[in-house]
């Protein structure tokens, strides 16, 4: 080929290349203008993949911003609204996640379409992948706070006649572990649930805390159950059923009569229409039907009392069955709720897969159990079981309580770790004693009790007022109420002496008060 022709061809190639990339670069603005003026769609929507489920950045209000911030605000807006955005992001996601198996932002792709989640390094917001890799560690203060919370809550519930269950709900990142890509799959570490299990080894709260992760992971590894959905963190219908089954097993430790509704893999038309009792999978949801169960009205005092606790309209579901049975109160988060009902469907109705033995179920969203909650909840009726659920990945967030609640739990926790004092004990030699006073059938009215309400044998009067801490408690009719307080250096023969509660209003008194004394010694834990 002669050089003139070769130069012409080269020039043509240059023109084509320059024109192509100029047009490509300008096409975004052209598409936006065409969309704005002519209504032509500015995206092809070639793939219909994951949506971001958030509002786009608004067009900036330049008058309200400093000049230095104009650029960032405009780029944030444009970054959410440029032409072909959805298509480019979806194509890029296919390349990065599906081909290269690389994390994109917080999303960690796994096999078979599984998506795991990692937190922003340092903030630990839903860090299930980091948890699997053993990157999360309880600090000493975290361990102390969890022990105090769990032991104190278990003890406080026990004192008022309630079985307490804390369910550490497994997450996809520690259950569906075979779905990780290497090298993550090959480097499991000590998860927070494992650390919690070690922490509770010698704790009196051990039996109250459910840690089913290992069991679920083993079942998932055998392919027995697909516990969680691939693309988000919620349970599958079968996984959700398994979780409630775990709760029922724990309840049966005290109440053997409790059963579960059967799970039907081939549901009958009656079950699907709600005319027969049972459970089955229906799309994303665990469908539960029980003709004997009905909703409790919205005017129910329990429902109205906790209206202020969260901003979610579907925050509580209350159902009751004819024929009696246990009253179960559950506080849980969306992971446990959304397989039963969608928050996008408003209030919705839910049934729970408990069978015979459970009569009433009351639930709350995002409510953390604490002594105030327990006191208020038991005000509205006898409660047999209190279940709290927390996702495993959120164990990094230790409970935060008001000082008053924290003090109560601290006293209860100390009592649970203490050593029983016999009637013939010889004095505490400067060591602390935690006293639990349980009042049965407390009078009607709602009167707070204060340190002055507790009377001790005359010779201990000065000692009690000098060194005791008494929790404030609201009292309710016909209820069981626990109060804990500490005494420094209880002298000999005080145990089992005539300790009593006396209110300033002589018409007010509990029918029965039982006192229990335990020597509190941190080293005896």
């Amino acid at each position: 080929m002669n050089s003139w022709k070769s130069r012409k061809i080269r020039a043509g190639l240059s023109v084509f290349f320059a024109a192509l990339w100029t047009a490509a670069s300008a096409s975004f603005l052209v598409a936006r203008a065409a969309h704005h003026r002519l209504g032509i769609p500015r995206d092809l929507h070639v793939f219909d993949l994951h949506k971001e489920n958030r509002a786009p950045a608004p067009f900036p209000d330049f008058r309200a911003l400093k000049p230095k911030d104009w650029g960032d605000a405009a780029e944030a807006w444009y970054g959410d609204s440029f032409a072909f955005r959805d298509t480019l992001i979806d194509c890029g996601g296919r390349v990065v996640q599906d081909f290269f198996h690389a994390p994109r932002g917080r999303i960690v792709p796994g096999r078979d379409g599984f998506l795991f989640r990692r937190g922003d390094f340092g903030t630990y917001d839903w860090p299930e992948a980091e948890d699997y890799l053993g990157a999360l560690r309880f600090r000493p203060e975290d361990r102390a706070a969890w022990l105090e919370f769990l032991e104190g809550t278990r003890e406080y519930c026990d004192a008022v006649g309630v079985q307490y269950i804390e369910l550490i709900a497994p997450v996809k990142g520690t259950v569906q572990t075979a779905s990780y890509y290497a090298p993550a799959r090959n480097h499991p570490g000590k998860t927070l649930a494992m650390q919690m299990r070690e922490l509770l080894e010698d704790s009196p709260a051990k039996d109250a805390v459910l840690l089913p992760t290992d069991t679920f992971a083993a079942e998932a590894a055998r392919g027995v159950i697909l516990f969680q959905r691939g693309e988000d963190h919620h349970y599958s219908p079968v996984g959700q059923y398994r979780v409630y089954e775990t709760i029922a097993e724990a309840i049966r430790a005290r109440h053997p009569e409790v059963e579960m509704l059967p799970f039907e893999t081939n549901p009958s038309p009656d079950l699907l229409e709600g005319n027969a009792a049972g459970c089955c999978a229906r799309g994303l949801r665990l469908h539960v039907a029980n003709p004997a169960e009905r909703d409790i009205s919205a005017e129910d005092p329990f429902a109205s009392t906790f209206q202020r606790k969260t901003v979610y309209p579907y925050r509580h579901v209350c159902t009751v069955r004819d024929g009696g049975g246990l009253t179960v109160v559950m506080a849980h988060d969306s992971m446990m709720r959304f397989t039963l009902t969608s928050w996008k469907e408003g209030e919705g109705t839910s049934r729970f897969p408990f069978g015979a033995g459970v009569g009433t179920v009351r639930t709350l969203m995002y409510s953390r159990l604490d002594p105030d909650f327990i006191d208020t909840a038991t005000k509205h009726g006898d409660i047999d079981v209190l279940v709290e659920q927390i996702a495993e990945s959120k164990l990094s967030f230790v409970p935060e309580l008001s000082p008053e609640c924290a003090g109560k739990l601290r006293a209860a926790a100390r009592f649970s770790r203490g050593t029983d004092l016999k009637a013939d004990f010889r004095g505490t030699a400067g060591r602390r004693v935690v006293v639990r006073a349980v009042m049965d059938d407390v009078f009607p009215g709602g009167v707070p009790c204060a340190p002055d309400d507790f009377s001790m044998p005359r010779e201990e009067l000065s000692l009690l007022f000098g060194g005791a801490e008494v929790g404030r408690s609201h009292t309710y009719p016909g209820k069981r109420r626990a109060v804990y307080f500490e005494v420094d250096d209880l002298p000999a023969a005080s145990v089992g002496a005539e300790w009593s509660v006396r209110f300033s209003n002589p018409e007010i008194k509990p029918d029965r008060v039982s006192f229990a004394f335990r020597l509190c010694d941190e080293s005896s834990k």
């Binding site: 290349f17 489920n53 970054g79 440029f82 992001i89 994390p103 090298p183």
Partner: protein, 495 residues
């Protein structure tokens, strides 16, 4: 505004270049003043976009240095010219010193016993190191008579503020573009060449630097918290940062050079495969050339260079590299990085005995034939340089010596890996491996060698077309990655 963002690529870039080309075509006969004015205004707008009213400092620097050069040549007296030069340089250095080094200087003084001064917190204007050095080179070149002072503040302002090289270089000398400033043509071949270079730089930055950079960042975040990574991850982090800084910087330079070409200018090359070097001296002849030559021409040589004996030469080298380190950042670790390189330059000079023979430094015998011993020397030299450079980057990246020490102990297997380092396994994806592998491969002159080889077997135009296809593929991949960086989903997917 960063070049590798969707806003720059799809809004600023097309609007700017289409306007610039249109103005250029319209002003073919009248000269480039309208185009240069547009470039100046657009560049000031570009700077305002990121810095707001900080653009006033940039404009002030342009006016000051333009006037300084004009005043300098207004009289023939050498004393006058020297005085004006001194004042101009002092003003520029004071400007840079106050904004960039005041805090560091006061913090350093506070280390002395009995001193506790309030540390000033002054916002650092974007690109101040680059445009101040550029302006200083102009006044010195005018003083030396290497270039005539600009008669037109628009042309001069266009030179200083031109956005492609404003914030990250290369540091362009006025004499390199003075001839083309008033009149230049931008044909299709030059435009295509500029696009090719721009796409190459974009791919380097987005596909390699950003990808490996996330691994480097993860490792250093861990170090900052006092947690040791396992040895494999420590080495991966060091390698990742070594690649990140090269591809980030050279990618930006390529984009700047490409855009300069699209405007009709030929900016100097800034990187020449520096990781091929077999000595630290050779490294600095391949790395950030515009900066190293600036220090050579405006500091090293005026200090005497290598013409005043070995001891003075070594002292000059150490001084230059200390300042080079500080130029990169106002911090002790940057200073140490500079001194680290200066130290090895000094050692190499001592080993060479002060010889400057290129034959000695390249390892070739006088007869040009490589022998086995020369080959092994070359390999050893390469490994030695790699070790010095990588260790230098560890100093450069770390906030303090504690981080550096922890990193080195981790690399040597002498630090117990912390449990928190488990999260690093998420970083070793096939994407990282591909980017790191490509980064390592193309750090060597693979493409030029491949081009030479293919040119002998296929026609030049076929090769050109194939390169265009490859660059287009890289450009498309880069845009996918850039678009993907705007993706920010909320947790509750479909619920």
């Amino acid at each position: 505004m960063v070049f590798s963002t969707i806003f720059f690529l799809t809004v600023f870039f097309p609007l700017f270049f289409l306007t610039a080309w249109t103005l250029g075509a319209l002003s073919e006969r009248t000269g480039r003043l309208p185009t240069n004015l547009f470039i100046l205004l657009a560049s000031l707008g570009f700077y305002f976009w990121g810095e707001g009213l900080g653009v006033c400092w940039l404009a002030g620097s342009v006016v000051f240095n333009f006037l300084a050069a004009r005043i300098m040549v207004s009289r023939a007296s050498d004393a006058w010219r020297k005085t004006v030069l001194g004042l101009a340089l002092a003003a520029n250095l004071a400007f840079l010193g106050v904004f960039k080094y005041a805090g560091f200087a006061v913090s350093s003084l506070n280390l002395l016993p009995g001193i506790s001064l309030p540390v000033p917190e002054i916002a650092l204007p974007l690109g101040i190191s680059f445009y101040t050095f550029q302006a200083m080179s102009y006044v010195v070149d005018v003083y030396r008579g290497d270039v005539a002072p600009s008669r037109n503040i628009i042309d001069f302002g266009c030179y200083v503020t031109m956005f492609p090289q404003l914030v990250a270089g290369p540091i362009v000398r006025y004499r390199d573009i003075a001839e083309r400033m008033p009149r230049r043509s931008v044909g299709m071949e030059r435009t295509a060449s500029g696009f090719r270079r721009f796409l190459c730089g974009l791919a380097k930055k987005v596909l390699v630097a950003n990808t490996v950079g996330s691994t480097a960042d993860a490792v250093w975040r861990l170090l900052a918290d006092g947690h040791a990574p396992p040895p494999s991850m420590a080495w991966a982090g060091a390698l990742a940062y070594t690649l990140q800084i090269y591809y980030d910087f050279s990618g930006y330079s390529d984009m700047a050079i490409g855009m300069g070409r699209m405007l009709g200018f030929d900016f100097p090359e800034n990187f020449e495969h520096p990781y091929c070097s077999r000595s630290v001296r050779e490294f600095w002849r391949r790395w950030h050339l515009s900066l190293s030559t600036w220090f050579r021409d405006y500091l090293y040589i005026p200090l005497g260079g290598n013409r005043r004996g070995l001891a003075r030469t070594c002292l000059n080298s150490m001084a230059v590299f200390a300042l080079c380190g500080l130029w990169h950042g106002a911090g002790g670790m940057f200073l140490c990085w500079g001194l680290w390189h200066g130290m090895f330059l000094m050692i190499e000079r001592l080993v060479r005995g002060g010889k400057t023979s290129t034959a000695a430094s390249s390892g070739r015998a006088a007869d040009g034939r490589a022998t086995a011993s020369r080959l092994s020397r070359a390999v050893l030299g390469h490994l030695y340089t790699a070790a010095v450079v990588v260790f230098g980057w560890i100093l450069f990246r770390s906030e303090n010596f504690a981080e550096t020490g922890l990193m080195l102990r981790s690399m040597a297997g002498l630090a117990e890996p912390s449990a928190e380092s488990g999260a690093l396994w998420l970083e070793l994806s096939p994407l990282f491996m591909t980017a790191a592998g490509a980064g390592l491969l193309f750090a060597y002159p693979v493409v030029p060698c491949l081009r030479m080889f293919l040119a002998r077997h296929v026609g030049g135009n076929v090769l050109y077309a194939a390169e265009n296809v490859a660059l287009s593929a890289l450009g498309l991949a880069s845009i996918l990655f850039v678009a993907g960086s705007t993706y920010n989903p909320f947790l509750y997917f479909r619920f």
